[in-house]
Amino acid sequence: MSKRIDYPSASDEVLVRNAQKGDMLAFEELVKRHRDKLYARAFSMVRNEDEAVDLSQEAWVKGWQRLKQFQGEASFLTWMTRIVINLCLDQLRKLKRLRSESIEQMDEETGGVERHMPVVNVNPTEGLERGELRERIDRALNQLSYAHRTVLILHEFEGLEYKEVAKRMECSIGTVMSRLFYARRKMAGLLAGLKQERNS
């Protein structure tokens, strides 16, 4: 370490540079800053608290081991998020949770029930506090299958393009498009249903 740094006020870039030279305190500060976001991403994918804690811990260990490979093309948080997503996908594959049930698979191919569902009007801000809206979205996400939720998370929340989602999920772009369509329509229905429940 060439010079002392004030860890809490240092930027991620400075902390990463120091951590790459073996400074464990700099890495600890990075963990402190981003551990909740990484845990939240893991939880959103595996929907289990203990698994999400273990996976985010594993991601931090892998992050330290691969830190020298980080070149700064994306932000450190984005880089770490990619690591935790890959670990979650491995876990979901291992537990065979990413496989769609055969009926669901057929639905995806033909458009399924969601295709014939009446179009709904979902107004995101209508009479809802932000916290309440987030709770409802989370409840609706919880009702999707792992495969549909994962596509939605990778595309909508992580901003990955179709081909990147397909690569990570080891499926075709067509499957990604179908799953995304299915997931969006189901979410629209669930959110509209929640709104109706609230109004009645």
Partner: protein, 154 residues
């Protein structure tokens, strides 16, 4: 509207269509009110999700979590090599014979050593080698009155 067109409608919203395909979807949107309604639903669902993911905090104390991460990092860190560095090995190899020769000369001629008289040594006598990394052989010819002390490094 068939399923393929529905997926194209969605792909346009996601900016994943070529210019020609986008134009095809635009034509459909102009002609078909159902397509317009579906596009509106997909768009508003996208908007409702954006930035509204529920935040979550790690359900463990920060110190406890870090201690687990740190312990795992240390456990997986490769143990430091116990071998001596190559430069030291080579230095040792070069200097060991010279050191032994100096020791031998000291034993023979030093007034403090009591003057080990090689000529008076029995034929089977061995000169002890104190070094681990070098082996030695002692040979004495009574007829020639010569003692040969051979040192080799391993």
């Amino acid at each position: 509207m068939n399923h393929e067109m529905e997926l194209k409608l969605q792909a346009q919203l996601d900016g994943e269509l070529s210019a020609a395909e986008a134009a095809e979807v635009d034509r459909l949107l102009q002609q078909d009110p159902a397509a317009r309604a579906l596009a509106a639903e997909l768009k508003s669902t996208q908007a409702i999700l954006l930035g509204n993911e529920i935040p979550r905090a790690l359900p463990e104390s920060p110190d406890f979590f870090w201690s687990k991460v740190q312990r795992e990092i240390q456990r997986l860190e490769p143990a430091p090599a116990r071998q001596r560095p190559p430069w030291l090995t080579w230095t040792f190899r070069l200097l060991a014979p010279a050191g032994l020769a100096a020791l031998l000369a000291f034993m023979v001629w030093s007034p403090f050593s009591g003057g080990v008289q090689l000529a008076k040594m029995p034929a089977h006598a061995e000169i002890e080698n104190p070094l681990d990394d070098a082996s030695s052989i002692t040979f004495r010819s009574e007829t020639e009155g010569v003692t040969v002390f051979w040192v080799s490094t391993r």
